[in-house]
């Protein structure tokens, strides 16, 4: 197959060639960036919360008198615990994907000079880590005497669990067990490391901080009240959750159920990623529409060229070119145009990504997306040109003999 005559022909149709190449270039750049954005949203949605999501639910109450907090806790734990199928009820300040309950900057020294980032704090009553299903990777779970009354926010001196990610961030390479950190006057000593425990309000941009959490053992009281972790078998959970919400009016008529936040963790997670799902869906829609429009553009233009060159095709056929030759001519032509477009498109894709990274904190485009986008567009071009090219190959040689 000679490329020279094709290039010569394209040179005569410079404008149309440039247009279609530019369309391919734009499509290539949008395709690569949209795919990368979809991937980053999807990977954000698959974050491991570190807890047994299928078995857990969260009940939040508002509007109760803090002076009655201990009484309320006792009533709710006993009342919800009586629901058939309920495995356990714990007082916890929040759950992954639940309302943000406490984030505080920590320091690695008492003087507050060496900053260690801003992790989120979970506070729960005895048995909470086990109920959450946290997976311990080092140290031990809090013992009964580690659970202390909360003076203000957390106990003033607590023995805590932290996540593996936070441990590696705070003390890279060192054994975190027994290490200490502070936030203001509060002192924490690490007694155990858990595999994962996602923060409450995860934000997809701060992925590295998504597992920066501390679990503080505490005893229920005025500072830890009104928010409960319930656990049931996965198949019972929906029913237990519904019954628990209904039971609150009877158990705690003095409080108001926070309908917005009282859900199973699965539902909280689903809701939390709703906008990401919508955005990913939108991007998929854009990609489909984009590829469709590009393909139609190629079909339209190729059909035009085929119609315009009917006579030349007939002459080539009369001079001995086979149908396959004609087919290959149009396919090669399309391949060349798409390749021009792709070369520009790849540069454009990286450029757009740099701009997006600057203004929208979009992650860097993984370079291996580029070859995938390139191959996808080559295939699209070949598919789109197939119908007009087949039509061209069916032009009979006799056309050459008709009026000139």
């Amino acid at each position: 197959m000679q490329i020279q005559p094709i290039l010569a022909a394209l040179r005569k149709h410079r404008l149309a060639t440039i247009l279609i190449a530019l369309e391919i270039a734009l499509a290539c750049s949008v395709l690569c960036n949209a795919c990368s954005m979809i991937a980053s949203r999807l990977s954000a949605m698959h974050i491991d919360s570190g807890v047994d999501e299928a078995s857990l639910g969260f009940i939040a109450l508002e509007g109760f008198d803090p002076k009655q907090a201990s009484d309320l806790n006792a009533r709710v734990v006993a009342g919800l615990g009586a629901i058939p199928g309920m495995q356990s009820v714990h007082v916890i300040n929040s759950v992954p994907f639940g309302p943000q309950a406490g984030a505080a900057g920590i320091t690695l020294d008492q003087a507050g000079k060496q900053h260690g980032g801003v992790p989120e704090f979970y506070v729960g009553d005895p048995g909470t880590p086990e109920a959450l299903g946290l997976r311990l990777v080092a140290g031990h779970m809090p013992a009964a005497d580690d659970y202390q009354p909360i003076t203000n926010f957390v106990p003033s001196n607590s023995r805590v669990l932290i996540t593996r990610t936070l441990a590696e961030h705070l003390w890279p390479g060192a054994n975190p067990l027994g290490k200490e950190f502070w936030t203001g006057p509060f002192q924490f000593r690490v007694i155990g490391v858990v595999d994962n425990l996602a923060i409450q309000q995860y934000d997809e941009e701060g992925e590295h901080g998504a597992q920066w959490t501390v679990f503080v053992p505490g005893l229920p009281g005025p500072q830890l009240a009104g928010t409960y972790l319930i656990r049931a078998n996965p198949q019972d959970l929906d029913r237990v959750m519904t019954e628990a919400k209904a039971a609150i009016a009877r158990i705690a008529p003095d409080a108001v159920l926070d309908y917005d936040n009282s859900h199973t963790i699965g539902e909280l997670r689903h809701r939390f990623f709703q906008s990401d799902r919508a955005m990913a869906g939108l991007l998929v829609g854009v990609i489909v529409a984009l590829l469709g429009v590009t393909a139609f553009g190629i079909v339209g233009l190729a059909s035009f060229w085929v119609a315009q060159r009917r006579k030349q095709i007939g002459i080539r056929r009369a001079l001995g070119a086979t149908r396959a030759d004609i087919l290959r001519y149009f396919q090669t032509e399309n391949f060349l145009i798409v390749t021009f477009g792709i070369v520009v498109g790849v540069v454009l894709a990286v450029g757009i990504n740099l701009v997006l990274m600057k203004f929208f904190e979009v992650p860097r485009l993984p370079l291996w997306y580029l070859p995938i986008g390139v191959v996808a567009l080559w295939l699209l071009g070949q598919l789109a040109v197939l119908v007009p090219a087949l039509r061209a190959s069916n032009v009979p040689p006799v056309v050459a003999t008709r009026s000139v």
């Binding site: 709703q274 429009v293 929208f360």
Partner: protein
């Protein structure tokens, strides 16, 4: 002449239906996508108080004396002392102190469960400053502010819910442990964004949809609210843990907003000087350490907080990139269509049509495609907006097409198609008549 061109255009469009449908579809999809996002942008980035916003300012001083971070920008909220000092100075035409909190309210009818409401505690200037519309009654007076009167204004939603939409002025409402008398009921009021509560946008990483929630349901005088809901206030930030969480009066926390109305440029200058001198004076007294102060007008404050959610901006860019692709596509197809009619154009030229006439004829055809595409685009936009309305975002209920966006849809469609048609039409108008006639 235009009528004739239109006839020719319709005739030509009918002749090659597939190509016509492809072009109309491309334009309709491109317009639909870009107008959907543009309408959402238009709703979210608009001026919530046109004509007044330039006179409304958000005051900031830095009450945090800790050297933990660079104090290049004062915090987004004021501490109690600074806020009340600035408000008491009354150096502006009007001034509104404000803070919102969640409060438990009891329905006036026995047997219904209590409910949690958002309450805005503010001063009486709030209502005239922000042109809040009243259905019944009126705002409280500055005397009520001073007396910490147990009065309240309620939203039209809450009035519908509790009093069936009837005039409830004079009725009472139990908020937590206090009883307040209703003095006013608002008309439906839905500023976009809920600008007076906007803060912290720069820390939200573009996730700012919450700035578009509905206004609070209960409004009480500022000091009344602090008393009746004591223990339930949330800080913007604290530089030391507050001794009594939820009670923030005189605590080491920033939690209050102060809006001022300044009617002229001279007043703005003098208020800015006042803010700076206040900061200097407090520094001299040793209460604060950093004297950065800011006075941004409403739109500057919204810009500073980057109120338009990042997702929406990204979608807008995406939609316009998509429109550009549709545009290129249409250029290619029009080029094919016009040049294919070389013979016909050659005859017209030979019969005396000027190249300008051919150009006008081709553009008419492009414009007609744009118009039809615009109708399709408008329908697709309505579909797109319907989809946005069914997403669970705080601004879903705001999303609808107004007249200006309706007109923009068609204007954009026709401009885009004329742009797309210009180059092919120019090429067509330069067809040499003789050459074409020979091949007929």
């Amino acid at each position: 002449m235009f009528g004739y061109y239109l006839d020719l255009a319709i005739h030509s469009l009918k002749r090659n239906r597939l190509l016509t449908v492809l072009m109309v579809l491309a334009i309709a999809i491109g317009i639909g996508a870009s107008m959907t996002t543009l309408t959402v942008m238009h709703l979210l980035s608009g001026d919530p108080l046109p004509g007044r916003s330039a006179h409304l300012f958000y005051a900031q001083v830095d009450g945090d004396p800790t050297p933990d971070y660079k104090h290049t920008e004062p915090p987004d909220a004021l501490d109690y002392q600074s806020a009340v000092d600035l408000w008491n100075a009354r150096r502006a035409d009007r001034q509104a102190l404000l803070v919102d909190s969640q409060i438990k309210a009891y329905a006036p009818v026995a047997g219904r469960p209590p409910l949690m409401l958002m309450m805005l505690s503010t001063t009486s200037d709030f209502f005239p400053m922000f042109e809040v519309p009243f259905e019944y009654g009126s705002a409280w007076t500055s005397q009520d502010d001073a007396n910490r009167a147990r009065v309240a204004v309620i939203s039209s939603d809450l009035n519908d819910k509790l009093f069936g939409g009837k005039d409830s002025v004079g009725k009472t409402l139990r908020l937590k442990d206090s009883v307040v008398r209703i003095v006013g009921v608002l008309k439906p009021w839905r500023p976009s964004p809920q600008f007076y509560d906007v803060r912290g946008g720069r820390f939200s990483q573009g996730d700012t949809a919450s700035f578009y929630t509905k206004p609070e349901d209960v409004f009480t005088p500022f000091f009344t609210g602090l008393e009746i809901n004591d223990g339930n206030f949330y800080q913007f930030n604290c530089w030391m843990p507050p001794p009594n969480p939820g009670h923030l009066v005189n605590s080491p926390c920033n939690w209050l907003g102060l809006w001022v109305e300044l009617g002229s440029a001279a007043k703005v200058v003098s208020y800015r000087e006042f803010l700076n001198s206040y900061a200097q004076q407090q520094k001299a007294l040793g209460r604060i350490r950093y004297t950065e102060a800011r006075l941004r007008d409403l739109m500057q404050w919204l810009d500073f907080n980057q109120v338009v959610p990042k997702n929406v901006k990204l979608q807008t860019w995406l939609a316009f990139a998509f429109l550009a692709i549709c545009l290129f596509n249409t250029v290619g197809l029009l080029l094919a269509k016009f040049l294919r009619r070389g013979g016909e154009i050659g005859v017209r030229r030979a019969l005396g049509a000027s190249s300008r006439a051919v150009f006008a004829q081709c553009l008419t055809e492009a414009g007609l495609i744009g118009f039809i595409g615009g109708v399709g685009g408008w329908l697709l936009t309505l579909l797109g907006l319907w989809l946005v309305r069914h997403q669970q975002t705080p601004y879903s209920d705001l999303v609808q097409m107004d007249v200006s966006m309706f007109l923009t849809t068609f204007a954009l469609a026709i401009v885009v198609s004329l742009l797309a048609g210009a180059l092919p039409a120019f090429r067509a108008s330069r067809i040499a008549p003789a050459l074409q006639l020979k091949t007929l």
